[in-house]
Amino acid sequence: MSPRFFWNTLIRESRGARGRLAFFVACLSVGVAAVVAVAGMSASLDEGVRSEARQLLAADLAIEGRRPVPPGLDLAKAGLAGAQRTDLKEMVTVVLAKTSQVVELRVVQGEYPFYGNLELRPRRPLSELLGPESVVVGSELLSNLGLRQGDTLRVGGAPFRIAGVVLSEPDRVSVSFTIGPRVFMSAAGLARTQLEGRGSRVGHRTLIKLPPSFSAEQLATAKERLEKALADSTFYRIETYKEAQPALRNSIDRVDRFLGLVALLSLFVGGIGVAQSVRAWLASRLDAIAVLKCLGMRPREIFPLYLGQTALLGLAGSLVGIVLGSAVQLALPSLFPDLIPAELVRPWQPTALLRGLGLGVGVAVLFSLPSLSTVLRVPPARVLRRDAEPLPSHRWATAATLIVLGTGIWAMATAQSRSLDLGSRFTAGVVLVTAVLAGAALLISWMVRRLPRESLPGRVWMRHGLAALARPGAGTVSAIVALGLGVLVVLGMSLVERRLSNQLATAIPPDAPSAFLIDIQPAQWQGVHEILRRQGASRVDSVPVIMARVSAIDGRAVEQLAAQAEARRKKQEEEKPEDREGARRWALTREQRLTYMKELPADNRIVEGKLWSDPKRAEVSVEKEFADDLGLKLGSKIRFDVQGVPLELTVTSLRTVDWQTFGINFFLVVEPGVLEKAPQLRLAATRLPRGSEQKVQDALAAAYPNVTLIRVREVLEKISGVLARIGVGIRFLGGFTVLAGIAILGGAVSAGSARRGREVALLKTLGMTRPGVAGAFAVEYALIGLVAGLIGAAGATVLAYMVVTRGFELPWELQAWPVAVALGGAVLLAVGAGLAASARALERRPIEVLRAE
């Protein structure tokens, strides 16, 4: 068969398929739209982050650490002659006007920013507005404290005039999680305050702008030179603008993979509808296929003909899906302004469109294979005898079809998630869930078939509805599977998100602290305690905090250990859920907070060793997971640098900590008598009467401006809010799966519309009224929705249980209300879709149908 003949025959044969186009396109386009929306948004944001990378970093390179970059760092000696440098210090603190407010303070020494737009009012450079006695603040701070430009507020105990307002910053995207509004201050201004005391939590960042002679390709070289020039480079993190916002880009990547799989699931559900459509279409083409075989077309020539038509329909459906998905993608930033930074969106993403196209056509072809393989079995003798037996099937054909289908699903899932592990688990999960749904649907259908319907109580239309459910070949199973999958996805995600939110909302035990106070100098403690007591604090716990660094473990220098951990981390090709090497490096190089106490708090449990058991050595008790990160075991010796003074401690016990009590707990607890004379701060936890936190904060800000109050409930509420918004976003995407399920249900009903029309005509002829007929249909669809809802809800509960208990290690709580809503929703949607699809059949007069017969 020549290519020209094949193409001509394909086009001619497709003339009959156009009636099927609408349903096929509907099923496929919903899933493709979801895939394109997710892929497009992720790619768009990633491109935005990359293209704005310099602005987001506000520099070419940034050096971050808990200690300042040495002022004497010679950039010229480091091979970066001509580079510019700006030093930043960042901390969380409290400002005071009529009342107080927690803010994110940024102290700037040098030009800022090097790139990007820092929008200020008045429109003057930051360096002109900042002086020893002036600050520039975020607009939110003015509204929160009832201030205006020119007013005065106190920061760290010193008064500052508000010289300007920050309207936007280049490195603060609109959806960033922030503790409080921004305040800019000069280095001279910081010197007037009491904020930079010993041990205060200050983050240091040095921004570097490379000279014009450095091209983008030489960025890595510049970074290497800096690493060599810095002493103790292990304690700093150097990032180039190309690596900027790793947390944001990792989040985008994770979201792309996870939501990409959710979108793929809706495409697979659409594939079920496609398979249904192709099956019904081929059923109408059996005579034509027999004639073609009769005329001498070989099976190997007929199969590609119909495969080609399916691919063409898949292309049409995918194109519609691409248009829909692009429209959704454009609408997403305005639908979810709190989640998607509109300023980073780059709408035109051809790779996302191609991905949708490829997956759409792939799903259309793959899911049609089982039906298409029946083409091989059409007996040519059918031209003479309608009841001619089908040709025998080859055993390998069925097996090959299933293998190709399974492999195709796995390949798509792996490509979409960019992970062999995740793709394989997803495929196994989908196959398992589909098998369970299909099996349960068949079981229910079988059970209903065996019900003694005649003796069932209730009206005729109810019994008729049950009978329709049990009818073989009614397309019930695929409708139930599709709708059930939709319910599973939406309800499953809802249950997980609600459980996490509930956990956050109720995470705080009744007697837990409601606030933490940090950076209290020892001499201030009595006064702070008095303020708390006067404000009615019912519980005050306080411990000393000594800042230190690990310098060696069991004789091996920490630089060596950290470098090894970093090298191992870079070798990991696939991101593992537990980034052990990254955690290890962080544990080794971070600034450690030590405390000392005679007895451990009640939420600590010794699991190895014994507390303070060796009188000959200075002992330390280590939290178990932290010990694993540091590579410690009982008897390990840790050498600390306690602000210049070396100290060696021996690990004599390992313990677990129940962090959910919100008590004050430490990774490293030292025995009493070792650190009492070391420079230290105090950390306090207190339980305040509701509503008194602001008064306490105001009083502390006035008397002790370096002390920061962190309100536990407020932070949890912020996190809970973010989770809720994420949950809405995920449920929005899960809605595509439900839509696909509805499309399939509608298609199944339409496919049977001829039979349905005859049924209606006969029932009306026999005396059933139109409401009665509609009632019978409603019972049938309600049962489909109920069965799909029940099975989907059961699956969703199991899925949520596994995620909550194994993934998040939280106790399980059954939530009846969302399950009931999902069930009711499934029933209503099924009834609505089914009746809408049957409306035409209901309207037809019996004589029209019976005459046409």
Partner: protein, 240 residues
């Protein structure tokens, strides 16, 4: 009956059984039949006598339970599905009671299809010639749903003869047509048979239609009850 040397269709001890409700039904029982090149044979019998099954087996549309079928000396019962399809493509044309035109194709495209399958270069010209021969030269662009029953059967005839097949099998070609239309179809069919020199096997339950044939095979309960070569009638005399 004279022995036919070099038969076009040679059937020996052909048997076909089908399962039916737990038992086996014998549709054809040890049929022996030889049909010469260019011969017109009618197969008669009441409903259920096995006529259509015999036709299906000759065409390789079905497989016998036992026995042998040779087309131009080559056995066909063990050919693969591909092999049988190629046999039909190259050597066999069909006319069916229910026309069996492809509804998505125009009349002309239906006629072209078998020639395109064979890759004949003169397909367009031949299609024009055949449509004219069946009196539908102006209806080639119409779809089957736009044609009457008789017109559809004429298109089917044109399609059947398109590739100048060695064998033409017709299953009750006038079964769904009224008398006058049926006569016209028979006239065209026999006219084309004569002009093309095809071996024609026609199944019918109507003795009058069978009377047009050179030879008449009577089937009853799956067996050849009798063969006869009585005087032939002309199409115009049939169904009058």
């Amino acid at each position: 009956m004279d022995q036919i040397t070099n038969p076009r269709i040679d059937i020996q001890s052909l048997t076909r059984r089908l399962p039916s409700g737990g038992r086996e039904l014998t549709i054809l029982d040890r049929i022996d039949l030889a049909i010469g090149p260019g011969e017109f044979v009618a197969v008669l019998g009441p409903s259920g006598s096995g006529k259509s099954t015999l036709l299906a087996l000759m065409a390789g549309l079905d497989r016998p339970t036992s026995g042998e079928i040779r087309i131009d000396g080559e056995p066909i019962q063990d050919l693969s599905e591909d092999g049988l399809a190629l046999l039909r493509r190259r050597k066999i044309g069909f006319v069916f009671q229910s026309f069996q035109l492809l509804g998505n194709l125009t009349a002309r495209e239906n006629v072209l299809l078998p020639m395109e399958l064979l890759g004949l270069s003169d397909a367009p010209a031949r299609a024009t010639e055949l449509l004219a021969a069946v009196g539908l030269q102006d209806r080639g662009h119409h779809y089957p749903s736009q044609l009457s029953g008789g017109e559809q059967q004429r298109v089917a005839l044109a399609r059947a003869f398109a590739t100048r097949p060695a064998i033409l099998l017709a299953d009750e070609p006038t079964g769904n047509l009224d008398g006058a239309t049926g006569r016209k179809i028979l006239e065209i069919l026999t006219g084309l048979w004569r002009s093309e020199g095809t071996t024609l096997v026609l199944v019918t339950h109507d003795p009058a239609v069978a009377a047009l044939a050179d030879r008449r095979i009577h089937l009853l309960d799956g067996r050849i009850e009798k063969e006869e070569t009585a005087a032939k009638l002309q199409p115009a005399e049939v169904l009058s």
